[in-house]
């Protein structure tokens, strides 16, 4: 039997990133403490290189490789480019924060890039195993990142919680996958889908497997009732790491749901729709109501994430391209807003001072009117007030839900987002209506200044011209299904 080498072309960007991470680890040994900015530049170069590779190989066609374990389709390419942009922004935002806190180590970069690689594998997985490998690569890197400040009690505790619960979720997921394997006889997502379509396999076994898979997914999405880890991890991790956890992995989680539920078990939509409705409503309820009581801004944002994940799940409920593209649009806008708000928290922090409480936003308008205006845009976008892009995300999802015939669900969703409006308004209130507690000027590096302004203005600009991003989401979904 002749050995045929697999087609490597669809995975060029993953291979390139892997090589670059190894280079970075070696270079870090040589560079030492003083020249760590070289490592930073190398990491950025790696992301740019990946971006170019993905962009050049971009096509609307779907190709499989590695015996069908790896897929390259339009959705994968678009999500990966989003991931590169997000991770690159995370690095820019967090550079001075981490260097002031002494965690600007080689591990910081290599772990973030390994996590990125994990996300890319997840996004391109077309086999339960490759999906799982990607997920574990991402998760293990994240556990280590949370614990990066070894001397911090809160961070270590958060990392432990994250690890234990994450491992439990992975266990759930594996168990569910093995059930599906038992029923269908394959781990290939396409074969699973075909087998379900043909009615092969015991339906009960499949449904039990589905329940475990959905539970595993909701752990990773931090959807209620599997959300417990999120507030502790968000609060305990250094803000730069929280920024990372809260942003790019959401793309991977979206792909995760798409690959498992939609591509793999789309025929069982009637079974998972009901489960997702419960998850969505619970997430919106718990997230929005618990966020009101929070005084710690990172904890509040964790609960706000939970509620936004509820909205994201709503899009899947309609089980058609309309809903999926709405969810994709939602996740992109959500990550854009999350990047902005955590970056703003880091801007408010100084060396020796962590902006942790909502009251740290007090009087921001008097201290610096520009950043206050930028945060204002973010807050109203998170609330879902037009003309900010967050509104269109909600509109798209609600439209999909109403289209699927769940008007009551849309009404419930808007009532919960009304509750959510309160805690976002509280931040605006602190910024604009209260006097500052400190007059210390904000010192912001110019690259961060430009990026945060671009980030927040994009929230407004994409709201005034939402067609481009909506069209992109629609394109990604329609060419991958």
């Amino acid at each position: 039997m002749n050995f045929l080498p697999p087609d490597f072309t669809p995975a060029y960007s993953e291979i390139f990133l892997l090589i670059m991470v190894c280079v970075i680890m070696l270079a870090d040994l040589a560079a030492g403490e003083k020249r760590r900015y070289i490592i930073y530049l190398l990491a950025q170069a790696a992301l740019i290189g990946c971006g170019l590779l993905t962009f050049v190989s971009f096509s609307a066609e779907t190709t499989y490789t590695f015996s069908g374990m790896f897929v390259d389709d339009a959705m994968a390419d678009i999500l990966k480019i989003m991931v590169y942009v997000t991770v690159s922004a995370v690095l820019i935002y967090s550079y001075s924060y981490v260097s002031e806190r002494g965690i600007l180590t080689g591990e910081f970069f290599s772990l973030i890039l390994f996590a990125t690689l994990g996300m890319m594998v997840m996004i391109s997985a077309s086999h339960f195993l490759s999906l799982y490998i990607g997920l574990e690569l991402l998760s293990l890197s994240l556990y280590a990142l949370v614990a990066l400040r070894r001397d911090s009690f809160a961070a270590t505790e958060a990392a432990m919680k994250f690890f234990v619960l994450g491992a439990l979720a992975s266990g759930f997921l594996l168990y569910g996958m093995s059930m599906v394997y038992g029923a269908t006889g394959s781990l290939h997502i396409l074969n699973v889908s075909e087998a379900i379509q043909d009615g092969v396999g015991n339906h009960e076994v499949l449904v039990v497997g589905l329940v475990f898979i959905v539970a595993g997914i909701s752990f990773k999405l931090s959807a209620a009732p599997f959300h417990m880890w999120a507030p502790d991890v968000y609060e305990g991790a250094p803000t730069a790491i929280t920024l990372f956890i809260g942003s790019a992995p959401k793309f991977a989680a979206f792909a995760f749901v798409m690959r498992l539920l939609v591509e793999g078990m789309g025929e069982m939509a009637a079974d998972w729709q009901g489960m997702l409705i419960i998850l969505a409503v619970l997430s919106m309820a718990i997230g929005n109501i618990a966020a009101i009581a929070q005084n710690n801004i990172k904890r509040m944002l964790a609960y706000s994430t939970i509620s936004h994940m509820g909205f994201l799940i709503l899009g899947f409920i309609s089980a058609d391209w309309n809903g999926y593209s709405s969810s994709l649009f939602y996740v992109i806008t959500y990550v854009l807003m999350t990047l902005g708000i955590f970056a703003m928290i880091m801007i408010l922090s100084r060396s020796g001072f962590e902006a942790e409480n909502i009251s740290d936003f007090k009087g921001l308008n008097k201290r610096n009117a520009w950043y206050a205006l930028m945060t204002l845009l973010l807050m109203f976008s998170l609330t879902g007030i037009p003309p900010m892009v967050g509104f269109y995300a909600k509109l798209a999802v609600l439209q999909a839900v109403v289209n699927a015939g769940f008007v009551w669900l849309a009404v419930a969703a808007v009532i919960f987002s009304l509750i959510g409006a309160f805690y976002y308004l509280r931040i605006v209130k602190f910024m604009y209506f209260d006097a500052p507690e400190t007059d210390e000027p904000l010192t912001v590096k110019s690259d961060v200044k430009v990026l945060i302004s671009a980030n927040c203005l994009a929230v407004l600009a994409l709201g005034i011209f939402p067609q481009s991003l909506m069209g992109l989401s629609l394109y990604a979904i329609q060419n991958s299904m």
Partner: protein, 494 residues
């Protein structure tokens, strides 16, 4: 479009751009520059709105000055704007009010001037957008966007309890709007993927759905109007808002609710409107009759005028649901005239507040001795507020009462009692504040109105008298549109 020129877009975006320019002047070191740019921008905004009136063809009920281009295709949303006889007068009212607010805040606002002026200009443009939108999504975007500047105005420049008032205002109005959004999305599905308001006007809708849509719209618009029993945010917001904020609230923002009834509730769900008309009339009459007792007992002048706004807007909703031309035209005149009168009343109270820093009626007395010119103006506006013939306040109320007589005598009877009670609470307040002996050394030191204040009040006084004596320029432009609306509402859409 006038000669192919996007006039309506200019009316919407010029104030917004001017507002951004004002914001860009930055800190209070450039306060004077900010004021002048704001004044120039608002006057320019008024001047470009004049061709809207002169070029308006009152013989047609079709939309005029229409602009229509695709905004985002994903949901078939169009940047579709135009005006008819209902929206055009409201846009003019808004464009007239904005310069007055800028002038009124000239001296009073000393802190964060550029933000104050800029916010008002941006809001003015957004509100023009609400009135001009012919696409439900565009309408919704402008409608919600108008919440942001008002929230900031109340919260930053308001009185001691401003945070509570600002958040209450925001959440209250957001509650209504969000359900309206769901209604729009439902209509979008029903219309086969269109957000065009004119499509919705033709769309057959089953009765149960009509009732639910009516209720969703009702929540959005009733909160804005505000109708009893969802009026409770208004006194709080008014009392805590700075003078300019109160003027915009009373003169413009409340009209958004009334406009919504005419543009959405009546023509889109006519059967539900007829079905629920009695409920609406009863709610309106409660607003008219009950709230003036509440107003009578207010010790705070601003609260008193805020409650009087509720009764006046009660006339507006009463007029809408009589389903005859007198009622609807009367309600429209009432909306415009209330814009001038309540705006003027709040400005008058602002004049007093700037001098004595109190809104309590009990702190005043004998002001006429010190401020005779002001007392004369205040007298005129108080009379207009009470609906004295010869002022614009009378025209609207009289037309609505005429319309009510045609439907049911007792509706008209109850509505007409306002002419007595309105006079009672307004004039009693006037008497306590203006007449009598000089109440305190603080009143003794009060200065009569400055030239700037005189200009603002004189413009409003002229408008109130002109509409009171000769309202035809206003009613003529809306005749055909209102008749067409009534025709439309008369036909079942089941």
């Amino acid at each position: 479009m006038l000669f192919g020129f996007p006039l309506l877009s200019l009316i919407i975006w010029l104030p917004i751009l001017a507002g951004i320019a004002v914001l860009a002047t930055g800190s209070d070191r450039n306060a004077q520059l900010a004021r002048w740019i704001a004044l120039a921008g608002s006057i320019l905004g008024f001047l470009v709105a004049i061709p809207l009136y002169t070029g308006f063809d009152p013989a047609t009920s079709a939309m005029q000055f229409v602009e229509n281009r695709s905004w985002f295709e994903r949901f078939n949303v169009y940047y579709h704007i135009g005006v008819d006889g209902i929206s055009m007068p409201l846009i003019l009212l808004n464009c007239i009010t904005t310069p007055l607010i800028v002038i009124a805040g000239w001296q009073v606002i000393q802190e964060r001037v550029s933000q104050y002026m800029g916010t008002f200009l941006i809001m003015s443009g957004i509100i023009n957008g609400v009135f001009a939108s012919l696409d439900a999504m565009l309408f919704y975007v402008f409608w919600e966007a108008s919440l942001i500047p008002m929230f900031l105005i109340i919260g930053i420049w308001g009185g001691p309890n401003r945070v509570y008032a600002a958040i209450k205002f925001f959440l209250y109005t957001l509650l209504g709007s969000l359900l309206m959004l769901v209604a729009f999305i439902y209509l979008y599905q029903l219309a086969g993927g269109s957000f065009s308001i004119e499509d919705y006007h033709q769309l057959p809708i089953p009765f149960n759905a009509q009732v639910l849509i009516f209720i969703a719209f009702l929540l959005a618009f009733a909160v804005k109007v505000p109708m009893w029993p969802v009026h409770t945010w208004l006194p709080d917001a008014h009392v805590e808002a700075p003078t300019g904020g109160s003027v915009v609230l009373a003169a413009i923002l409340l009209k958004l609710g009334g406009y919504g009834f005419l543009r959405f509730s009546l023509p889109i769900v006519p059967d539900a409107s007829h079905y629920l008309a009695e409920m609406m009339i009863v709610l309106s009459l409660i607003a008219v009759v009950y709230i003036y007792f509440v107003a009578l007992m207010q010790p705070d002048m601003k609260k008193l005028v805020a409650y009087s706004s509720v009764t006046h807007m009660g006339f507006v909703t009463l007029g809408f649901f009589l389903f005859n031309a007198y009622g609807i035209e009367g309600a429209m005149v009432q909306m415009i005239s209330h814009g001038f009168i309540s705006g003027a009343m709040f400005l008058c109270i602002g004049v007093l507040y700037d001098r004595l820093h109190s809104r309590q009626i009990a702190d005043y007395g004998g002001v006429v001795n010190k401020m005779p010119v002001f007392a004369a103006f205040f007298m005129l506006f108080a009379m207009a507020n009470a609906g004295l013939p010869g002022t614009s306040g009378f025209v609207g109320e009289f037309l609505v009462i005429m319309g009510a007589v045609k439907v049911n005598f007792w509706y008209a009877f109850l509505a007409a009692t306002t002419l007595i009670f309105g006079a009672a609470y307004t004039l009693w307040m006037y008497k306590r504040v203006i007449f009598g002996a000089v109440a305190s050394p603080a009143v003794e030191g009060m200065q009569d109105i400055s030239r700037r204040e005189f200009i603002v009040l004189a413009i409003l006084a002229a408008a109130v008298l002109w509409l009171g004596v000769y309202p035809f320029p206003l009613t003529d432009v809306m005749h055909v549109t209102v008749d067409n609306l009534l025709d439309h509402v008369g036909n079942s859409k089941l």
